[in-house]
Symmetry: C2
Subunit: 343 residues, 2 copies
DNA sequence: CTGTTAGCGCTTTCAG
DNA sequence: CTGAAAGCGCTAACAG
């Protein structure tokens, strides 16, 4: 920030009036003569005056900045959520301070503390996969910051939350696989601590159970993380089984893509021999060969709604008694990597 | 921001000392007795005091916030650059205010003005594809904000800049195609106004010229944008030519992926009948079938270096006379979608 | 209609 | 060593 910024007192001196008069003109208060207002406005423009938000924030105790913390920004998933957030807040004059925790619990704390110091007006948080205690959230909350948790749930922590119904998405996907005749359906999971990992696995298990397909332990693998590399590794071990699966439901598209490359290399046909289903419906997924069946998530809307709830809280500054818990519905996008339903 | 934040005066009242004493203790000034300091520090911790950065910023004329504007956040490319930026500034205590212009010139102006009001300490800008005049940059600069332009060059605007040598990347790629025996090499371009589009096309043209391959107008197509959809459309029209190309150099991977799907659908072999090369080397590109030959860009480093330059400017507050112009080198990643070099 | 005063939270002279 | 006072840029209450 440059020292030479024109201030309200500069204008005041220039015109030999008091700063308050300038202030009134600038905020077009009714208690000022039209001619004076005009003179002042003209001078302000001429001298390239712009109000110092810092001073205003100090006065109003409101920065109009929202703090956003996501695990990683370099993913289609979270960047799309941010997109939704930005589209929502943009029109209301709020700015975003965005940071990524890189899935680190300590970094998440550090970032949130830094944002609290800057006095952001509120927080939009998607917790890191290593966040299992929520003292830092509690602390932020009890300091009076409104806080909305999105995408990843925090069991045991009370707050406004917006999540996707992972369970339902997984259930749909796996039930579809069953209906298309698959009997040995494997699952490659994501990072163990994530609520999404758990919910998707639950959906998988319940879909099998409900459809009387036996649950086979060796067909369930938990990846290290949610990367394509993990997909490669896990798929390799699935293909080393005595009897290989006839379908694989993957935690996400990245894993599915890794798995697909391994399956293809072995000369195994998709979906004839193995059906493959991902999760997230990333933009490229439909361009793969075969195109990937995947569970689409309303992730843009997730961001939008989270931001809306935060803004609502900010407007209605009364402490609302209950928290909102919004669950958005995902949708199965059927493509070539899975078989067609029998007629 | 909650009203109830503990301030330095609260502490002062509590202990019946003056605010300045508290301030001195908190900043461990030498002019204060150890015992007092300890008492104050303890109370501060107990009352959960945290300094108000707003007040400090107002005083120091420094917010320790950097403004970042990118065309879109939902792309692997820019989010990786932001990644680099954040990794660089994180350790230095700077925070990032990030916004996307959505390739809109007006939005870019709006965002930068908003950030200027917040008094960010400096700007990191990658201009939108519709930004062809730079008055807003000049204005920001002349208001005293340091500014670094990255990834997309602005001809006619002087500032610190960090870009990738698109020309060289394109040249490498196309020369490689020539050397592997391709003779009818097509090019699908990106958004016309972008410096990167122009530079990549130049590289393409010069590589052809230098290697005595004739330049055929009908083989050069400018896409509407840089999406896979555009790749589909453009590739379709290339395949409608009397004589189809034996290679396609695409502006980016997204276009190449779209093109690939069309080529495959027609039953044309890649790379035997048509070689395909992209640009950006997105993470999925190596998982496509065939895996995509692409020009890798040091985009993370681009972010890192841009941030470094901005921070350098911020440290050395003297107006340095000359601007830095850094050009990073891309690298061709050869995969299955292009032929092997003859031995 | 306009100027004076006070104060947001903090640091930094300047006097003790 | 410590307190009082001034000021960062701005607004709002209070006198005119």
């Amino acid at each position: 920030m440059k020292k030479g910024q024109v201030t309200i007192t500069d204008l005041a001196k220039e015109l030999n009036v008091s700063p308050s008069t300038i202030s009134r003109a600038l905020n077009n208060s009714p208690f000022i003569s039209e001619e004076r207002k005009k003179v002042i406005m003209d001078l302000a423009k001429k001298m390239n005056y712009s109000p110092n938000q810092l001073a205003l924030s100090l006065l109003n105790k409101r920065t109009k900045i929202l703090g956003v913390v996501v695990p990683e920004i370099t993913s289609y998933y979270f960047s799309t959520a941010i997109n939704g957030i930005q589209d929502k807040v943009g029109s209301s004059g709020y700015k975003l301070m965005i940071s990524q925790s890189n899935e680190s619990f300590e970094e998440e704390i550090r970032l949130m503390e830094a944002m609290a110091l800057v006095r952001v007006d509120g927080f939009l948080i998607s917790p890191s996969s290593n966040t299992t205690t929520f003292d830092h959230f509690e602390k932020i909350k009890s300091s009076g910051f409104p806080l909305v948790v999105f995408d990843r749930d925090c069991l045991g922590f009370e707050a406004d939350k917006v999540v996707v119904d992972d369970y339902s998405g997984a259930f749909q996907a796996v039930e579809y696989l069953v209906k298309t005749g698959c009997k040995r359906i494997a699952h490659i999971g994501g990072a163990a601590s994530l609520s999404t990992t758990q919910h998707r696995k639950m959906g998988y298990l319940d879909a099998l159970a409900k459809n009387n397909v036996s649950i086979v332990d060796e067909l369930i693998i938990n990846g290290e993380d949610s990367s394509s590399e993990s997909g490669v590794t896990c798929m390799l071990s699935l293909l080393n089984l005595e009897v290989i699966p006839d379908a694989v439901f993957c935690y996400n598209d990245a894993i599915a893509i890794g798995a697909m490359s391994v399956i293809r290399e072995r000369g195994i046909q998709i979906p004839e021999e193995i059906s493959l289903v991902g999760f997230d419906d990333e933009p490229y997924s439909s361009y793969f060969k075969p195109s990937l069946t995947s569970v689409w998530q309303p992730i843009y809307d997730l961001g939008l709604l989270s931001a809306k709830i935060l803004l609502d809280n900010l407007m209605a500054d009364n402490e609302s008694s209950s928290y909102r818990y919004e669950v958005l519905k995902p949708e199965l996008m059927i493509r070539e990597s899975s078989k067609k339903l029998p007629i």
